[in-house]
């Protein structure tokens, strides 16, 4: 009884399993045999899709398929990679190294370049780099669609660091750059792009997973923090991109006080906005996933959903809410109800370009370096000469000092009577002084130049004698002194007869 019932239930369960299995198999077979676009399922579950497969020059896109997923690299989301270029030949090799190292599937990346107003061989370097990239053996390393646009806008200012970053140049410069970006963005974006990534070429250090790192936040517009390295003498590191900020009361007040076409630029003392900058929010130990709401953003590395640009947000080339270019792009996107976010603790590193001030300082430092080398060389030489050419008699002087200054009271009291001990005075010295006095008197009497010359000679002689006799100077020279010791001469000068 027991055995039969267990047998029956087993039969029951196996039959159920087999029935279920065959039903599933039939469903699968039906799904497989009938292609996914079959009208039966299509009309029931999804909107109508026209078929233009064999019709020339007609394209149909359902924009719902291109809204951008947070795991776009797994879903085949195409990225439009926009790079504005101007005189960028020297940075391009580094840029292409970064490109090639990127982990986002390369075939999903469409590259678009705008080459404008370049005086160097930007175009040539770009083309050769692109050809290298697209002829790589590993086909998965090659990129998708590549478009290069050329358009000159006329340069109003130079391209050196200080030209570009001077205060007066900012407004017109930003508007011009905004135009360039818009020309690139508007012609390059296709209906099938899900994301748009704006990148400057002069980024030095950037994670290879930059796309995934930004994309998985699933925000409409997102920027990393941008810093730059500095030389040691400037403090090693510095926040670079001050265009990413949150609006402040001060900023709004300033905006209200300016005229319609004015452009507020960050990081200049002329416009104190007191805004919290993304760059200064960095905590090196902070969580890289942390987000911060922004109102204005910088253009070094922007990842945005393509729909943001498609629905009309762009880099205003006019003063939009007193801003232009990327900062105004942030403001415009906010006005269009998109979220704009920055990552304070996730940093990419811009290259360091010295400013004119820095260049001056560096030139000065190089000069200083040279001067120091020269100085030590000369000092070594002098030290050698000094050691071999001169005797250090300071120790002798210390011991002889008490004898020589026997009669001199070293206390400075002028009232104190000086007692002179003439007892062992030198006879020769007395004679010399007597001669001197006699000559001087004669010169006074004659009152002519000849006598003066004679007196001079007499003084010389007397001094030489005195020097020989006394050797009373504090540092005696071993070699014969070419000139008389100074004190004796001064005595003679006091006797200048012509003045009497």
């Amino acid at each position: 009884m027991k055995a039969s019932s267990s047998k029956g239930s087993r039969w029951f369960s196996t039959s159920i399993i087999s029935i279920l299995g065959s039903i599933i198999t039939i469903i699968l077979l039906v799904r497989l045999v009938l292609p996914s676009s079959l009208s039966l399922t299509a009309s029931m579950f999804k909107p109508y899709v026209p078929n233009f497969k064999n019709v020339p020059d007609v394209e149909f896109y359902d924009l719902r398929n291109y809204q951008g997923h947070k795991d776009g690299w797994q879903r085949g989301d195409k990225i439009l990679f926009c790079v504005p270029l101007r005189d960028a030949a020297e940075h391009l090799p580094m840029f292409f190294d970064h490109l090639n190292a990127m982990t986002y599937p390369h075939n999903l990346i469409d590259l678009s370049f705008l080459v404008s107003d370049s005086s160097d061989d930007t175009m040539g370097v770009l083309l050769s780099n692109l050809q290298n990239a697209q002829s790589q053996k590993d086909k998965s390393k090659r990129f998708g669609n590549i478009e290069i646009f050329e358009k000159d806008f006329g340069q109003i200012i130079g391209q050196s660091f200080s030209d570009r970053h001077g205060f007066a140049a900012q407004g017109p410069r930003r508007k011009l750059m905004a135009r360039a970006r818009n020309w690139l963005g508007s012609v390059a974006i296709k209906p099938y792009h899900s994301w748009v990534y704006w990148r400057d070429v002069d980024v030095e250090t950037i994670p290879t997973t930059i796309m995934e790192d930004l994309m998985h936040h699933d925000k409409d517009v997102i920027v990393p923090n941008v810093w730059r390295p500095l030389p040691d003498w400037l403090g090693n590191i510095q926040p670079y991109d001050l265009n990413s900020w949150k609006e402040s009361e001060g900023g709004m007040q300033l905006a209200d006080s300016l005229d319609e076409d004015a452009v507020i630029v960050e990081g200049y003392p002329e416009y104190a906005t007191w805004r919290p900058h993304l760059a200064y929010m960095r905590d090196p130990n902070g969580d890289p996933e942390e987000e911060m709401q922004l109102d204005g953003i910088g253009g070094v590395s922007i990842l945005s959903k393509a729909k943001v640009f498609r629905t009309g947000s762009h880099f205003p080339a006019f003063s939009f809410q007193k801003h232009a270019e990327t900062e105004a792009f942030g403001k415009l996107s906010r006005a269009m109800n998109y979220n704009v976010v920055g990552l304070p603790h996730y940093v990419i590193w811009h290259i360091y370009e010295p400013s004119t001030e820095d260049l001056k300082h560096m030139a000065w430092m190089a000069e200083e370096e040279k001067r120091k080398v020269e100085e030590t060389r000369i000092k070594e030489f002098y030290d050698k000469i000094w050691d071999s050419g001169f005797d250090d008699v300071r120790d002798d002087w210390a011991s002889e000092k008490s004898d020589i200054l026997l009669n001199i009271d070293l206390t400075s009291d002028p009232q104190k009577k000086v007692e002179v001990d003439w007892s062992d005075d030198d006879v020769e010295m007395q004679e010399a002084n007597a001669a001197l006095a006699a000559n001087a008197k004669a010169a006074m009497a004659n009152g002519n130049a000849q006598a003066q010359a004679q007196a001079q000679a007499a003084v010389d002689a007397a001094n030489a004698a005195a020097a020989n006799a006394a050797a009373g100077n504090n540092i005696g020279m071993k070699a014969a002194a070419p000139q008389p010791a100074a004190p004796g001469f001064e005595v003679a000068a006091d006797f200048d007869p012509s003045k009497n």
Binding site: V49, D57, E59, F60, W73, I148, S186, G312, Y346
Partner: protein
């Protein structure tokens, strides 16, 4: 005091405490006085004693983020489900390296002779055969015309798409010289622009919402289709059923950055019992002092729309400047334009002039576009005597 003496009494009575108390005292004296190392503060074991700055821990100043945190490990396995998937892939052209010199692109008076490409853009709520026939009768060379349509995600949109598909297939399968250079059809995903019926869509309260949705659709259409060859963009509404045959040549000949034709409507005048025309599009206007004053008093998120008694701006409307006796090519400066039939140089759009879906100087959509073009230093003109016709509305 009593409790204290009680305590001392208890201490004396309890031998354990009498032994422990001195011991404890000795220990604390030793701890406080004789142990000289820092452990009394207890900081050796804490982070602060061997604290490292981030750049010391990382061994460099230039790191993207500290290695204390790991970014998520990304999987590169495709999420594409080949079995249960109703998604139909669009046909995307193959990749290549292309090179375009936009310096050579121009938009000048002799557009047809200079072989300049014109992009005709139409937000298509419903397909009207007369609209299509009108497009087909334009005399501008078809190999220089690109068409762009955006279709809302609604039932009527689906019907329009089917009709459009048939029409496009017919012309593009025709002889080569009869084909358009390119036709792009988009299906909208943003807020649909035709949700409201003819009757209520002109109500003032829904204007802002409706026109914001329309602006989004126009932008999506524009920035998806404008290409490196485009010289001119002609905005032509799906309701425009009659235009002169030489529409594009006539309008490009004026060589203006933004140029609007006057949109009229044919109707049957029941009183006089004859066919007549009346102005239709009131979005082409010049700014008035009253309009400016109104705007200055408005809240930042309010908009001014034309043609409503609630907002009397007294702006000179181009629709009212029509005079059949004046020359057709008469021009008139404008500050706001409509989207009925407006020709725009592609560079205006490329510079960034788009259709705001938010109040831009209290203007929205096409009128906001005109303002933005002006902010970009372009001039906006209209042709009061050059008429195109909107289809009739039978809702009264």
């Amino acid at each position: 005091m009593g409790s204290l003496s009680l305590l001392s009494y208890k201490v004396r009575k309890n031998p354990v405490v009498t032994v422990l108390l001195p011991l404890l005292a000795l220990l604390s004296i030793y701890m406080l006085v004789f142990r000289t190392d820092d452990s009394i503060l207890g900081i050796q074991r804490l982070d602060i004693a061997n604290h490292k700055w981030a750049h010391e821990a990382e061994g460099t100043w230039y790191f993207p983020f500290t290695s204390r945190f790991k970014m998520p490990r990304y999987s590169y396995k495709s999420q594409h489900n080949w079995l249960f998937n109703d998604h139909v892939d669009d046909i995307i052209p193959e990749g290549h390296i292309a090179h375009y010199d936009l310096n050579k692109l121009h938009a000048r008076a002799d557009a047809a002779i200079d072989k300049e490409r014109v992009l005709i853009l139409t937000p298509l709520q419903s397909f009207d055969q007369r609209y299509w026939d009108n497009i087909m009768q334009l005399s501008y060379p078809r190999e220089l015309i690109e068409l762009g349509f955006i279709i809302p995600r609604t039932k009527t949109g689906e019907d329009a798409l089917k009709q459009l598909e048939a029409a496009v297939k017919r012309v593009q399968s025709d002889k080569k010289n009869q084909r358009f250079a390119k036709v792009t059809i988009l299906k909208q995903d943003s807020q649909s622009f035709d949700k409201l019926q003819e009757k209520e869509r002109h109500a003032l309260s829904v204007q802002k919402e409706r026109r914001a949705a329309m602006a989004l659709a126009r932008n999506e259409l524009l920035f998806s289709t404008i290409g490196p060859h485009t010289s001119w963009v002609l905005w032509l509404d799906a309701d425009i059923v009659e235009t002169p045959v030489n529409l594009i040549q006539d309008m490009t000949a004026h060589d203006k950055a933004v140029l609007a034709a006057n949109v009229f409507q044919r109707y049957h005048d029941n009183d006089k019992n004859e066919d007549a025309i009346r102005p239709y599009d009131f979005n082409n206007w010049q700014e008035s002092d009253i309009g400016r004053e109104l705007a200055s008093k408005m809240q930042p998120d309010e908009i001014i729309v034309e043609g409503y008694a609630e907002i009397a701006t007294y702006r000179p409307l181009m629709a009212h400047f029509h005079n059949a006796n004046n020359p057709v090519d008469e021009e008139m400066m404008l500050d706001g334009v409509g989207g009925g039939c407006t020709l725009v140089k592609a560079e205006v759009h490329r510079d960034g002039a788009m259709f705001p879906n938010f109040p831009f100087y209290h203007l929205i959509e096409t009128e906001g576009f005109a303002k933005m073009a002006k902010r970009l230093n372009y001039e906006v003109f209209g042709l009061p005597n050059y008429l195109v016709y909107h289809k009739e509305e039978f809702n009264n």
